[in-house]
Protein backbone atom coordinates (compact mmCIF):
# COMPACT_ATOMS: atom_id res chain seq x y z
CA UNK A 1 0.00 0.00 0.00
CA UNK A 2 1.29 3.41 -0.90
CA UNK A 3 -1.23 5.14 1.33
CA UNK A 4 0.08 4.23 4.71
CA UNK A 5 -0.95 6.18 7.78
CA UNK A 6 2.04 8.46 7.37
CA UNK A 7 1.05 9.53 3.90
CA UNK A 8 -2.61 10.27 4.48
CA UNK A 9 -1.78 13.92 5.04
CA UNK A 10 -2.21 14.54 1.34
CA UNK A 11 -5.82 13.48 1.53
CA UNK A 12 -7.23 16.36 3.54
CA UNK A 13 -10.80 16.50 2.34
CA UNK A 14 -11.15 20.25 2.38
CA UNK A 15 -8.33 21.67 0.40
CA UNK A 16 -4.91 22.85 1.54
CA UNK A 17 -3.77 22.26 5.07
CA UNK A 18 -3.06 25.41 7.07
CA UNK A 19 0.63 24.65 7.28
CA UNK A 20 1.08 24.27 3.55
CA UNK A 21 2.69 27.69 3.53
CA UNK A 22 5.71 26.10 5.17
CA UNK A 23 6.57 24.91 1.68
CA UNK A 24 7.52 28.47 0.83
CA UNK A 25 5.89 30.78 -1.70
CA UNK A 26 7.58 29.44 -4.79
CA UNK A 27 4.72 27.03 -5.54
CA UNK A 28 1.29 28.62 -5.66
CA UNK A 29 -0.99 25.79 -4.60
CA UNK A 30 -3.96 25.18 -6.91
CA UNK A 31 -5.61 22.35 -4.93
CA UNK A 32 -9.17 23.10 -6.02
CA UNK A 33 -8.31 23.09 -9.70
CA UNK A 34 -6.28 19.93 -9.17
CA UNK A 35 -9.15 18.27 -7.39
CA UNK A 36 -11.65 19.27 -10.06
CA UNK A 37 -9.48 17.70 -12.74
CA UNK A 38 -8.97 14.58 -10.66
CA UNK A 39 -12.67 14.35 -9.90
CA UNK A 40 -13.61 14.61 -13.56
CA UNK A 41 -11.07 11.94 -14.43
CA UNK A 42 -12.21 9.57 -11.67
CA UNK A 43 -15.89 10.02 -12.51
CA UNK A 44 -15.23 9.44 -16.21
CA UNK A 45 -13.32 6.24 -15.47
CA UNK A 46 -16.04 5.03 -13.13
CA UNK A 47 -18.77 5.71 -15.67
CA UNK A 48 -16.91 3.76 -18.33
CA UNK A 49 -16.56 0.76 -16.08
CA UNK A 50 -20.20 0.98 -14.98
CA UNK A 51 -21.45 1.02 -18.57
CA UNK A 52 -19.27 -1.94 -19.57
CA UNK A 53 -20.39 -3.91 -16.53
CA UNK A 54 -24.03 -3.04 -17.11
CA UNK A 55 -23.69 -4.52 -20.57
CA UNK A 56 -22.67 -7.85 -19.18
CA UNK A 57 -25.46 -7.77 -16.68
CA UNK A 58 -27.74 -8.13 -19.72
CA UNK A 59 -26.11 -11.45 -20.48
CA UNK A 60 -26.37 -12.43 -16.82
CA UNK A 61 -30.12 -11.78 -16.85
CA UNK A 62 -30.59 -13.81 -20.02
CA UNK A 63 -28.39 -16.71 -18.88
CA UNK A 64 -30.12 -16.87 -15.49
CA UNK A 65 -33.50 -17.24 -17.17
CA UNK A 66 -32.12 -19.85 -19.54
CA UNK A 67 -30.78 -21.69 -16.48
CA UNK A 68 -34.22 -22.00 -14.94
CA UNK A 69 -34.47 -19.05 -12.57
CA UNK A 70 -37.47 -16.79 -12.76
CA UNK A 71 -37.27 -13.03 -13.23
CA UNK A 72 -37.67 -12.26 -9.50
CA UNK A 73 -34.93 -14.68 -8.47
CA UNK A 74 -32.63 -13.21 -11.09
CA UNK A 75 -33.30 -9.66 -9.94
CA UNK A 76 -32.82 -10.66 -6.29
CA UNK A 77 -29.37 -12.03 -7.08
CA UNK A 78 -28.22 -8.83 -8.73
CA UNK A 79 -29.62 -6.65 -5.95
CA UNK A 80 -28.54 -8.72 -2.97
CA UNK A 81 -25.56 -10.79 -4.04
CA UNK A 82 -24.13 -8.13 -6.37
CA UNK A 83 -20.88 -9.80 -7.28
CA UNK A 84 -20.83 -11.02 -10.84
CA UNK A 85 -18.75 -14.20 -10.80
CA UNK A 86 -20.66 -15.53 -7.78
CA UNK A 87 -23.99 -14.88 -9.44
CA UNK A 88 -22.92 -16.68 -12.59
CA UNK A 89 -21.56 -19.51 -10.45
CA UNK A 90 -24.80 -19.98 -8.54
CA UNK A 91 -26.99 -20.07 -11.63
CA UNK A 92 -24.56 -22.42 -13.36
CA UNK A 93 -24.88 -25.02 -10.62
CA UNK A 94 -28.66 -24.67 -10.48
CA UNK A 95 -28.95 -24.79 -14.28
CA UNK A 96 -27.02 -28.06 -14.30
CA UNK A 97 -29.56 -29.54 -11.90
CA UNK A 98 -27.40 -29.15 -8.80
CA UNK A 99 -28.66 -28.51 -5.30
CA UNK A 100 -29.28 -24.81 -4.66
CA UNK A 101 -27.08 -25.02 -1.58
CA UNK A 102 -24.21 -26.36 -3.69
CA UNK A 103 -24.79 -23.33 -5.88
CA UNK A 104 -24.67 -21.10 -2.82
CA UNK A 105 -21.40 -22.69 -1.70
CA UNK A 106 -19.89 -22.11 -5.14
CA UNK A 107 -21.03 -18.50 -5.05
CA UNK A 108 -19.60 -17.94 -1.59
CA UNK A 109 -16.22 -19.40 -2.54
CA UNK A 110 -16.15 -17.22 -5.63
CA UNK A 111 -16.91 -14.22 -3.42
CA UNK A 112 -14.10 -14.89 -0.95
CA UNK A 113 -11.81 -12.46 -2.75
CA UNK A 114 -14.12 -9.59 -1.85
CA UNK A 115 -13.08 -9.98 1.79
CA UNK A 116 -9.50 -9.26 0.80
CA UNK A 117 -10.56 -6.23 -1.19
CA UNK A 118 -12.32 -5.04 1.96
CA UNK A 119 -9.06 -5.23 3.88
CA UNK A 120 -7.46 -2.79 1.47
CA UNK A 121 -10.51 -0.57 1.29
CA UNK A 122 -11.03 -0.35 5.06
CA UNK A 123 -8.00 1.94 5.38
CA UNK A 124 -9.20 4.17 2.58
CA UNK A 125 -12.89 4.34 3.38
CA UNK A 126 -12.68 4.40 7.20
CA UNK A 127 -16.40 3.74 7.53
CA UNK A 128 -18.32 2.48 10.54
CA UNK A 129 -21.88 1.76 11.59
CA UNK A 130 -24.59 2.01 8.96
CA UNK A 131 -22.23 3.51 6.43
CA UNK A 132 -20.05 0.42 6.66
CA UNK A 133 -23.05 -1.84 6.15
CA UNK A 134 -23.90 0.07 3.00
CA UNK A 135 -20.34 0.38 1.71
CA UNK A 136 -19.78 -3.36 2.17
CA UNK A 137 -22.32 -4.20 -0.52
CA UNK A 138 -20.33 -2.10 -3.00
CA UNK A 139 -17.08 -4.03 -2.41
CA UNK A 140 -16.55 -5.75 -5.78
CA UNK A 141 -13.78 -6.19 -8.34
CA UNK A 142 -14.57 -3.00 -10.20
CA UNK A 143 -14.99 -0.59 -7.28
CA UNK A 144 -11.78 -1.91 -5.70
CA UNK A 145 -9.78 -1.62 -8.89
CA UNK A 146 -10.99 1.94 -9.45
CA UNK A 147 -10.18 2.95 -5.88
CA UNK A 148 -6.88 1.40 -4.87
CA UNK A 149 -3.91 3.04 -6.51
CA UNK A 150 -5.29 6.57 -6.59
CA UNK A 151 -2.89 9.29 -5.51
CA UNK A 152 -4.99 10.52 -2.61
CA UNK A 153 -7.48 8.90 -0.26
CA UNK A 154 -10.04 11.43 -1.33
CA UNK A 155 -9.75 10.35 -4.96
CA UNK A 156 -9.71 6.72 -3.86
CA UNK A 157 -12.97 7.16 -1.94
CA UNK A 158 -14.59 8.89 -4.89
CA UNK A 159 -13.41 6.09 -7.18
CA UNK A 160 -14.91 3.50 -4.86
CA UNK A 161 -18.31 5.12 -4.37
CA UNK A 162 -18.71 6.39 -7.93
CA UNK A 163 -17.80 3.01 -9.41
CA UNK A 164 -19.71 1.01 -6.79
CA UNK A 165 -22.92 3.00 -7.11
CA UNK A 166 -22.60 3.34 -10.88
CA UNK A 167 -22.06 -0.38 -11.38
CA UNK A 168 -24.82 -1.22 -8.87
CA UNK A 169 -27.32 0.90 -10.80
CA UNK A 170 -26.42 -0.32 -14.27
CA UNK A 171 -25.84 -3.92 -13.18
CA UNK A 172 -29.41 -4.11 -11.91
CA UNK A 173 -30.88 -2.32 -14.90
CA UNK A 174 -28.91 -4.62 -17.21
CA UNK A 175 -30.12 -7.68 -15.33
CA UNK A 176 -33.73 -6.54 -15.66
CA UNK A 177 -33.34 -5.98 -19.40
CA UNK A 178 -31.68 -9.36 -19.94
CA UNK A 179 -34.08 -11.30 -17.74
CA UNK A 180 -37.24 -9.76 -19.14
CA UNK A 181 -35.87 -10.11 -22.67
CA UNK A 182 -35.08 -13.78 -22.17
CA UNK A 183 -38.42 -14.47 -20.49
CA UNK A 184 -40.06 -13.80 -23.87
CA UNK A 185 -38.10 -16.61 -25.50
CA UNK A 186 -39.81 -19.97 -25.62
CA UNK A 187 -36.67 -22.12 -25.90
CA UNK A 188 -33.41 -20.51 -24.83
CA UNK A 189 -31.55 -23.65 -25.83
CA UNK A 190 -32.47 -23.13 -29.48
CA UNK A 191 -30.59 -19.83 -29.30
CA UNK A 192 -27.55 -21.52 -27.80
CA UNK A 193 -27.93 -19.65 -24.53
CA UNK A 194 -26.75 -22.70 -22.58
CA UNK A 195 -23.34 -22.18 -24.19
CA UNK A 196 -23.34 -18.52 -23.24
CA UNK A 197 -22.55 -19.27 -19.60
CA UNK A 198 -19.28 -21.17 -20.18
CA UNK A 199 -18.27 -18.44 -22.62
CA UNK A 200 -18.96 -15.84 -19.95
CA UNK A 201 -16.83 -17.81 -17.48
CA UNK A 202 -14.04 -18.02 -20.02
CA UNK A 203 -14.07 -14.25 -20.42
CA UNK A 204 -13.91 -13.88 -16.63
CA UNK A 205 -11.14 -16.45 -16.29
CA UNK A 206 -8.79 -15.37 -19.08
CA UNK A 207 -7.46 -12.18 -17.46
CA UNK A 208 -6.68 -14.12 -14.27
CA UNK A 209 -4.52 -16.73 -15.97
CA UNK A 210 -1.21 -15.02 -15.55
CA UNK A 211 1.71 -17.40 -15.42
CA UNK A 212 2.20 -21.10 -15.97
CA UNK A 213 1.37 -21.98 -12.38
CA UNK A 214 -2.15 -20.58 -12.62
CA UNK A 215 -2.70 -22.35 -15.94
CA UNK A 216 -1.61 -25.61 -14.39
CA UNK A 217 -3.88 -25.25 -11.36
CA UNK A 218 -6.79 -24.27 -13.62
CA UNK A 219 -6.29 -27.33 -15.84
CA UNK A 220 -6.05 -29.70 -12.88
CA UNK A 221 -9.21 -28.19 -11.39
CA UNK A 222 -11.09 -28.55 -14.68
CA UNK A 223 -9.96 -32.19 -15.04
CA UNK A 224 -10.93 -33.06 -11.47
CA UNK A 225 -14.35 -31.51 -11.97
CA UNK A 226 -15.05 -33.24 -15.28
CA UNK A 227 -13.86 -36.63 -14.05
CA UNK A 228 -16.02 -36.27 -10.94
CA UNK A 229 -19.22 -35.62 -12.92
CA UNK A 230 -20.33 -39.26 -13.28
CA UNK A 231 -19.31 -40.09 -9.69
CA UNK A 232 -20.79 -37.42 -7.42
CA UNK A 233 -24.05 -35.42 -7.21
CA UNK A 234 -24.55 -32.43 -9.50
CA UNK A 235 -22.83 -29.31 -8.21
CA UNK A 236 -20.23 -31.21 -6.20
CA UNK A 237 -17.61 -31.43 -9.00
CA UNK A 238 -17.22 -27.66 -8.89
CA UNK A 239 -16.81 -27.75 -5.12
CA UNK A 240 -14.08 -30.39 -5.52
CA UNK A 241 -12.31 -28.00 -7.86
CA UNK A 242 -12.52 -25.40 -5.09
CA UNK A 243 -10.74 -27.89 -2.86
CA UNK A 244 -7.98 -28.15 -5.46
CA UNK A 245 -7.56 -24.40 -5.18
CA UNK A 246 -7.41 -24.50 -1.39
CA UNK A 247 -4.82 -27.28 -1.41
CA UNK A 248 -2.71 -25.52 -4.05
CA UNK A 249 -2.89 -22.33 -2.01
CA UNK A 250 -1.81 -24.04 1.20
CA UNK A 251 1.38 -25.37 -0.34
CA UNK A 252 3.91 -22.85 0.88
CA UNK A 253 6.01 -21.20 -1.75
CA UNK A 254 8.99 -18.94 -1.47
CA UNK A 255 8.64 -15.48 -2.92
CA UNK A 256 5.75 -16.14 -5.23
CA UNK A 257 2.66 -14.91 -3.49
CA UNK A 258 0.03 -13.96 -6.02
CA UNK A 259 -1.96 -10.85 -5.51
CA UNK A 260 -5.69 -11.40 -5.95
CA UNK A 261 -6.62 -10.10 -9.32
CA UNK A 262 -9.55 -7.73 -9.03
CA UNK A 263 -10.02 -7.08 -12.69
CA UNK A 264 -12.84 -9.07 -14.18
CA UNK A 265 -12.21 -7.30 -17.44
CA UNK A 266 -8.54 -6.65 -17.46
CA UNK A 267 -8.20 -3.91 -20.01
CA UNK A 268 -10.88 -1.55 -18.83
CA UNK A 269 -9.85 -1.56 -15.22
CA UNK A 270 -6.79 -0.15 -13.56
CA UNK A 271 -4.61 -2.87 -12.16
CA UNK A 272 -4.65 -3.17 -8.40
CA UNK A 273 -1.27 -4.83 -8.45
CA UNK A 274 0.64 -1.72 -9.37
CA UNK A 275 -0.27 -0.21 -6.03
CA UNK A 276 0.73 -3.22 -4.02
CA UNK A 277 4.45 -3.79 -4.26
CA UNK A 278 4.26 -5.92 -1.11
CA UNK A 279 2.05 -8.42 -2.88
CA UNK A 280 3.96 -8.51 -6.14
CA UNK A 281 5.69 -11.68 -7.18
CA UNK A 282 9.30 -11.01 -6.40
CA UNK A 283 10.50 -12.63 -9.63
CA UNK A 284 13.54 -14.06 -7.95
CA UNK A 285 14.75 -17.27 -9.49
CA UNK A 286 13.75 -19.66 -6.74
Amino acid sequence: MTTGPESTGDATPDGPTPDSTIQGNSTPDPPDLDWRLTRTQVLRDSMGVAIATGAYAISFGAIALAGGLNVWQTLALSLLMFTGASQFGLIAVIAGGGAPLAGAATAIMLGARNALYGLRLAEILRVSGLRRLGAAQLVIDESTAMSIGRDTDRAARLGFYATGLGVFTLWNIGTLVGAVGASWLSDPRALGLDAAAPAAFLALLAPRLRGRELWAVALVAAMVAVLAVPLVPVGVPVLLAGLVGVIAGLIPRKGTTQAPDPAESAESIRSIDSSEPDDQPTREPS
Binding site: A122, L202, A218, G249
Partner: protein, 104 residues
Protein backbone atom coordinates in the same frame (compact mmCIF):
# COMPACT_ATOMS: atom_id res chain seq x y z
CA UNK B 1 -38.75 -22.67 -3.17
CA UNK B 2 -35.43 -24.41 -2.59
CA UNK B 3 -33.93 -22.15 -5.23
CA UNK B 4 -34.87 -19.22 -3.02
CA UNK B 5 -33.07 -20.86 -0.09
CA UNK B 6 -29.93 -21.23 -2.20
CA UNK B 7 -30.23 -17.59 -3.25
CA UNK B 8 -30.71 -16.42 0.35
CA UNK B 9 -27.75 -18.42 1.69
CA UNK B 10 -25.53 -17.38 -1.21
CA UNK B 11 -26.43 -13.69 -0.90
CA UNK B 12 -25.95 -13.70 2.86
CA UNK B 13 -22.60 -15.47 2.60
CA UNK B 14 -21.32 -13.15 -0.10
CA UNK B 15 -22.44 -10.08 1.84
CA UNK B 16 -20.84 -11.26 5.08
CA UNK B 17 -17.54 -11.82 3.24
CA UNK B 18 -17.66 -8.26 1.91
CA UNK B 19 -18.48 -6.94 5.37
CA UNK B 20 -15.80 -9.06 7.01
CA UNK B 21 -13.11 -7.46 4.88
CA UNK B 22 -14.14 -4.01 6.06
CA UNK B 23 -14.55 -5.11 9.67
CA UNK B 24 -12.01 -7.65 10.85
CA UNK B 25 -8.54 -6.65 12.02
CA UNK B 26 -6.08 -6.82 9.20
CA UNK B 27 -3.95 -9.49 10.85
CA UNK B 28 -6.77 -12.05 10.70
CA UNK B 29 -6.83 -12.26 6.91
CA UNK B 30 -3.40 -10.88 6.11
CA UNK B 31 -1.58 -14.19 5.61
CA UNK B 32 0.16 -15.40 2.47
CA UNK B 33 -1.86 -18.63 2.33
CA UNK B 34 -5.15 -16.73 2.59
CA UNK B 35 -4.06 -14.46 -0.24
CA UNK B 36 -3.00 -17.37 -2.42
CA UNK B 37 -6.24 -19.24 -1.80
CA UNK B 38 -8.37 -16.17 -2.48
CA UNK B 39 -6.50 -15.63 -5.73
CA UNK B 40 -6.75 -19.28 -6.73
CA UNK B 41 -10.42 -19.88 -5.90
CA UNK B 42 -11.84 -17.85 -8.79
CA UNK B 43 -9.37 -19.51 -11.16
CA UNK B 44 -10.17 -23.11 -10.17
CA UNK B 45 -13.92 -22.55 -9.84
CA UNK B 46 -14.26 -20.76 -13.16
CA UNK B 47 -12.13 -23.41 -14.89
CA UNK B 48 -14.28 -26.16 -13.38
CA UNK B 49 -17.53 -24.41 -14.28
CA UNK B 50 -16.39 -24.01 -17.88
CA UNK B 51 -15.43 -27.67 -18.14
CA UNK B 52 -18.54 -29.06 -16.43
CA UNK B 53 -20.97 -26.80 -18.25
CA UNK B 54 -19.46 -27.52 -21.64
CA UNK B 55 -18.66 -31.21 -21.43
CA UNK B 56 -21.41 -32.67 -19.27
CA UNK B 57 -25.16 -32.81 -19.05
CA UNK B 58 -24.96 -32.84 -15.29
CA UNK B 59 -24.86 -36.63 -14.92
CA UNK B 60 -22.47 -37.84 -17.60
CA UNK B 61 -19.83 -36.52 -19.94
CA UNK B 62 -20.94 -35.42 -23.39
CA UNK B 63 -19.49 -33.53 -26.31
CA UNK B 64 -22.12 -31.58 -28.19
CA UNK B 65 -22.74 -28.23 -29.87
CA UNK B 66 -21.64 -26.35 -26.76
CA UNK B 67 -18.04 -27.44 -27.37
CA UNK B 68 -18.10 -25.63 -30.70
CA UNK B 69 -19.52 -22.57 -28.97
CA UNK B 70 -16.77 -22.63 -26.38
CA UNK B 71 -14.07 -23.04 -29.02
CA UNK B 72 -15.29 -19.94 -30.83
CA UNK B 73 -15.50 -18.09 -27.50
CA UNK B 74 -11.90 -19.05 -26.76
CA UNK B 75 -10.77 -17.48 -30.02
CA UNK B 76 -12.80 -14.35 -29.24
CA UNK B 77 -11.29 -14.10 -25.74
CA UNK B 78 -7.82 -14.63 -27.14
CA UNK B 79 -8.46 -11.84 -29.66
CA UNK B 80 -9.60 -9.70 -26.69
CA UNK B 81 -13.02 -9.02 -28.16
CA UNK B 82 -15.60 -7.45 -25.85
CA UNK B 83 -17.44 -9.59 -23.31
CA UNK B 84 -20.81 -9.38 -25.03
CA UNK B 85 -19.28 -10.36 -28.36
CA UNK B 86 -17.68 -13.42 -26.75
CA UNK B 87 -20.95 -14.51 -25.19
CA UNK B 88 -23.02 -13.82 -28.29
CA UNK B 89 -20.61 -15.67 -30.59
CA UNK B 90 -20.70 -18.73 -28.33
CA UNK B 91 -24.50 -18.74 -28.31
CA UNK B 92 -24.84 -18.18 -32.06
CA UNK B 93 -22.27 -20.86 -32.88
CA UNK B 94 -24.01 -23.38 -30.64
CA UNK B 95 -27.40 -22.55 -32.12
CA UNK B 96 -26.05 -22.92 -35.67
CA UNK B 97 -24.44 -26.28 -34.92
CA UNK B 98 -27.78 -27.45 -33.50
CA UNK B 99 -29.48 -26.37 -36.72
CA UNK B 100 -27.12 -28.58 -38.70
CA UNK B 101 -26.98 -31.47 -36.21
CA UNK B 102 -30.33 -31.41 -34.38
CA UNK B 103 -29.33 -34.05 -31.83
CA UNK B 104 -26.41 -32.03 -30.49
Amino acid sequence: MTIWIGIAVGCLGCYLLKLAGLSVPKSVLERPAVHRIAALLPVVLLAALIAVQTFSDGRSLVIDARAAGLAVAAVAVWRRWPFLVVVALAAVTTALVRQVIPAS
